[in-house]
């Protein structure tokens, strides 16, 4: 693979049009015991081709934010624009990767990958080839006709990523996709994700509660405050790409991690 992305990407980001623009984005849940504010007044922009992580303690509304961006939830105040148009419900331009792979056990790997095409009633024949290519990209072409229960956890989550990519979305929304994996598989998956991202040139919004993961993967990191979630700060990670795991041991990486830790610590700790 060629290092497609230069380190200058971050500085040029501001000049490109915003793919997502959130203005005063808020979400309040109505429960039996009253109203719970999950998100309060979020303003941010995400540019085409960026890798942005959202980090915060559990319960800070990270997943709520992702569902708002996916169109799975409606916001109670503010607005989200995707490509300059207000977001009303799920669109083909935004695909979601969930915490668990959510593969259908009665379908083969290939049929799981093609599920969004079926749901969206797109022409199946024209997507079979790209599904096969994507499976090849994550090294699972031999498993196309296998069933999910024959795959390891890491392989299943790779299938879930391929399923999100198959409809060729602009935006990949990932909700702690590797949270359930063991540490070593997780490192591998992070490297794999960077590779997929650099090959497919998607915009990625990546929810995580791991500071190291956020710094390692991202162009920018949005740090959230505790509930009701709002933006504590946005950190630009100016580390050269392509990155490998050795970057974790550099001083700059350590400084970014410390900066994020202090942001999160100052508002309640993240232990």
């Amino acid at each position: 693979m060629k290092p497609i992305r230069a380190a200058t990407l971050n500085t040029s980001a501001a000049r490109r049009p915003a793919l997502i623009r959130a203005n005063g984005l808020s979400k309040t849940y109505v429960t039996g015991s009253g109203e719970v504010a999950a998100l309060k007044g979020l303003d941010f922009e995400i540019y085409d081709g960026e890798f942005v992580s959202v980090i915060g303690q559990s319960g800070c509304g990270k997943s709520t934010l992702l569902k708002l961006l996916a169109g799975l939830l409606a916001c109670t105040a503010g607005s989200v624009e995707l490509n300059g148009k207000p977001l009303r419900g799920p669109t083909r331009e935004a695909a979601v990767v969930f915490q668990s792979p959510v593969l259908l056990p009665w379908r083969t790997v290939l049929d799981n990958v093609l599920l969004p095409i079926e749901f969206r009633k797109l022409p199946m024949t024209s997507y079979r080839l790209s599904a096969a290519e994507l499976l090849d990209m994550v090294g699972l072409s031999e498993f196309a006709q296998r069933y999910p229960f024959e795959l390891s956890g890491g392989m299943q989550q790779r299938v879930a990523i391929v399923r999100a990519l198959v409809q060729d979305p602009q935006l990949l929304l990932m909700d702690e996709p590797f949270g359930a994996l063991d540490a070593m598989t997780r490192d591998q998956m992070n490297l794999e994700l960077i590779r997929i991202w650099s090959q497919s040139r998607k915009t990625v919004i990546f929810i995580t509660h791991s500071i190291a993961e956020a710094v390692f993967l991202s162009d920018r990191v949005i740090a959230m405050t505790a509930r009701p979630g709002s933006i504590a700060d946005v950190i630009t990670i100016d580390l050269p790409r392509p990155r490998d795991l050795s970057v974790i041991n550099t001083d700059r990486f350590g400084r970014y991690a410390a900066r994020l830790r202090s942001l999160l610590d100052a508002r309640g700790g993240i232990f």
Partner: protein, 284 residues
């Protein structure tokens, strides 16, 4: 050498812990042994302990009665095939009607919670009613023919399927529905591609119970009044004190019930092969 060392280490515990043929295939070794022991006890009771033949007929008498009953043509009303055919037909028809209605109503009541909640007390109430108590009423309503037996079988098989279908719907992982929504799936697709397949393990659990109950329904229906069927034969033989014949028909009913549930589990293995092996449905 390390390779050798590894070999001996891995082979010794393997041979020690390798389970014997009894542990590996109890269904082909221990199960037939149990059957032989039971038949031996039967032989002992009749031939050595001298149990009266009107309590326990000798094994050979029962087998002779069975052979006599089964050697007749399927159209001969004095043979077993004719009556078995009628009973199975009643059971299968009632099972089909009851389980289809149970599955559909289970989906409807789960999908529209307002319907489910408003009907739930009546479903629970009717379910706690012993359905065989309705059998005499069936004679009044439908007479001695087929309909009454099909009706009682349908009612008996309806509930396990309904209840399991509703449990299955409740157990559909919310993430699967969210995945479908994130892909703008239509309501029909959500139903056919996510919800119904997700419910299958539960549906088959209900069908397994219902398949056995279907024979019960048909036989009870025949007890209260019928012109044909194995249930009617049972009544006739007990009144005539034909105990060997009675035993033969009971054995036949056991075999039919076993076959019915076996067919259901074969279909389950064909369409629900993924359920046992995937963690996703471990709750099922």
């Amino acid at each position: 050498m390390p390779v050798q060392a590894l070999d001996t280490r891995s082979s010794v515990p393997a041979s020690e812990t390798r389970p014997g043929v009894l542990r590996r295939y109890p269904q082909f070794t221990i199960s037939p042994a149990i059957l032989l022991a039971l038949l031996g006890a039967w032989w002992l009771a009749t031939h050595v302990l001298g149990a009266p033949t009107y309590v326990i007929p000798p094994l050979e008498d029962v087998l002779r009665a069975m052979a006599g009953g089964l050697s007749r043509s399927p159209w001969d009303k004095a043979g077993y095939w004719y009556h078995a055919g009628i009973t199975v037909w009643e059971a299968v028809l009632g099972f089909a009607i009851g389980s289809v209605l149970g599955a559909l109503l289970g989906l409807v009541l789960s999908h529209w919670p307002i319907l489910g909640k408003s009907w739930y007390p009546y479903i629970v109430g009717f379910q706690s009613l012993p359905k065989v108590a309705l059998a005499p009423l069936m004679v009044v309503w439908f007479g001695f023919g087929l309909q009454g037996k099909v009706f009682i079988t349908a009612i008996i098989t309806f509930f396990p399927v309904l209840v399991n279908m509703m449990a299955g719907y409740q157990a559909v992982e919310p993430e699967r529905i969210e995945l479908a929504r994130s892909c703008n799936a239509s309501a029909l697709h959500l139903f056919t591609k996510i919800i119904i397949p997700s419910c299958l393990p539960f549906l088959f659990a209900g069908l397994g119970v219902a398949s056995v109950l279907s024979i019960l329904g048909a036989v009870v229906g025949e007890f209260v009044g019928a012109g044909a069927g194995l249930g009617m034969l049972l009544m006739q033989f007990s009144q005539a004190m034909e105990i060997s014949q009675l035993f033969a028909v009971i054995l036949l009913l056991a075999v039919i019930g076993f076959l019915m549930s076996h067919i259901v589990s074969l279909i389950e293995r064909r369409y629900c092969f993924w359920a046992q092996r995937s963690n996703a449905t471990a709750r099922a």
